[in-house]
Amino acid sequence: MKTKNNPLYYILFIAIFAILLPAGYLSGLLSVNTISVWGRYFCFAIAALGIDLIWGYTGILSMCQAFFFCLGSYGIAMHLLLKKTVAAGAVLPDFMAWNKIDTLPLFWQPFHSFGWSLALCLLIPALFAFVVGFVLFRSRIKGVYMAIITQALTLAMWLIFLRNETNLGGTNGLTDFNTLLGYNLSSSSVKLALYMISFAVLCAAYFFCYRITNSKFGKVLQAIRDSESRISYAAYKVVDYKLAVFVVAALLAAVGGMLYLPQTGIITPGRMDVKASVEMVMWVALGGRSNLKGAVLGALLVNFLYSICTSLFPDSWLFILGFLFVITVLYFDKGFMGLLETIKQKISAARFKTPQTTH
């Protein structure tokens, strides 16, 4: 980014989410629900970072991040469900028993072990992203074509996950978990811990993405975004770069999904329908594209607004959100971050009245 990295953002961010919110909860000012809700927003923010990498920095509009997010969630959900089933002395999760299945499907087997589950949660999305990316990038599909094909892919996956035959719970998805690694998911301290873990992972992911975007690799990505043909004339293997960043973005989405599951307690194919996959891109667009802070801010803010508006204005919240989208795009084309920058400049200009300080 051209603008100087102002540590104020980081300080403010950490102060609010790492100190203020937990303190608010511990002092009884905020309920554990608030903590847990914000923990979930962090997971979205992690996925949003991935979208910013691939869309904001590389210029590939991928609409299947919601699917990768779900892959992560489903993996952990399968593990939790198996643990619960085994603890209850059964062989099969409830929904399978009702569907008259007598043996655990083969692909469920590895999810008995937490380690394997973690590995598969990352491995499967990565592999999937690699294959899809390889196929798509090799045939030089880009722009809108890329967006619509990935959207169609998500749609196809959504349809498949909705089926009962896939043994992933169909429309109802997977739900009703009690423990993770022996910790009771409904206890407040576990929720706080998950919140803190999500926060820490978000910070780590941010740092990771920050390093990427400022490395040579990141510069190449931005060059691909700005002019793909020119960078390929310069003998860069564009496909390799795109593929790498696609896999990284998929991994980030999956990590978000993995953390999301224990805090929400349910994963359904609804998380990856057309609406959900467009919304994920919206977070980044609203926060500010090509701006990692913007991605995080966008994900947090949009979801926060979604939560409170559906409670406060149950009848009209769609208007509020809709107008927000339109107005942001029309007047603040750099998203919230752009808006913040402008306000910052205005404030400092008003304070010092000296034009030199603004630049």
């Binding site: 196929v135 619509i148 809709g322 989208f325």
Partner: protein, 541 residues
Amino acid sequence: MLMCCLLLLPLKVAAQDSASIYTAQLLQPTNDSVRTQAIGRLAALRIPATFPLLMAINDKKLYLLDHKAVTVDSKPTGEGTYRLYSLYPDNRLLTNSSGQPLLLPLSALQTVDIPRADRLQLAGIAPLMNLFSNDAQKRILAYTQLKNAGDSATLPILQAALAKETNADARRTGKDVLYAARLYSATSTATAKAYIDSIGDNWSDNAPVLLRNYAKAGFLNQETAHYAAAKAISLEKRYDSLQRIQNFFSGLSLGSILILIALGLSIVYGLAGIINMAHGEFMMIGAYTTYCTQVFFTHTLGIPQTDLFFLAALPLSFMVAGAMGWILERLVIRHLYAKPLESLLATWGVSLILIQTARLLFGDLTAVKTPQLLSGGWQVSPHLTLPYNRIFIIVLTLLMVVFTYLMLYRSRLGLQIRAVTQNRQMSACLGIETRRVASITFFIGSGLAGLAGCAITLIGNVVPDMGQTYIVDSFLVVVTGGVGKLAGTIFSGLGIGFFTKISESFFQAVYGKVFILVFIMLFMQYKPKGLFPDKGRVAED
């Protein structure tokens, strides 16, 4: 036969008399048990002349008008009034003094309440009675129910019913029963074969099953059994080929819907290079315009049963959706031509707003009444019905494609649109008002979506988020065909329509859809820029 009738005649007269007595008892019973008994007797007598009366009892549609038993049509004529029929001794339409059908509301009639237990006595002869029903569907059902009851007592009744049968379907079903009864009672191979042929020619829905059963039973001899089996197979083969035509037609109709939706999208995308997520919502606007037109015609103008509203709705939905598109272009899209991906966000926001507005205005599930002209179907052959509404959509699509073609390739505006699509700056330099062209294009594109919405009310319902159902599909059509390419849109729309229908007849509907998506992905490998990519230097950015 004649002898038989003559012999029966005195008996019949006696029965007629007792029927009159029972009928009178039934309508003015001295007590409940008298009525119960009267109905029981009437049911046992099985006199066709009393059937309309018994049917009216069974359907709970027995009324008294001036102490005479009457019944009403199943549907009111429009303003809540019904046509009346006398029941016994003759069954005819009642007319007023000027010879017009007598129309009365139910409130003008005295309802005769027959207890449920009494009505149940009629269950046994329900099929026989229904042979004389005014409702063709009921007669068809009655014939089907008679299928295995071709005994000597019911056969004459069946023949009597067939003699005055007017509905082709019903006659076909009825003949089937008659032939089957004759076939099973046939004593010579030649007669049996003749009846097998008759059944084959008649070709009812049930014919293959019937023939197969006959063949399995080996009723007369091996020869007839083989003959019946062969006939059944040939009938099924013919049926299968008709089924293929039906599938082809389904694919064509699905394809034309997709084309209709994608046409506007393709033009707009080609010109402005923006992903219009609100395109589906313009379709929704068109559908609601149709709905409003209908409400306006029936409630405000007070014309209840007319197809006129649909004729009015077609241009109206185009104009209203087009106007909305034009406003959207003016207010939002205009500022975003340089930023295609931002426009995705803005139009998504617009679509949210439009959906919620529709929900607040109209609240819930609504559906447009299909125009009388377009309901039902064209009976090509006994087993091939092509619904009129789908034929209409195909024709409409054809017209719109021609319109779009003429507009794009044979008009000055089209030339300008194509110029702006190819190179906005250069066109501007050459003196084309790119903004005006963009506005008009948006108007036409959105109008086409509105028209698609209007057409879709013929096959589906009108809900606020109906646009979302079609949006991904129509994007796929645009992408597969090549952005902004008329021919591409048509080919890919039809292609996707056919493939979906073909795969649906092998897989279940869900997998059919997945199969199509995978297929398109693989297709894009081969043609990454769609069926009709830009040629030459334009292709590389």
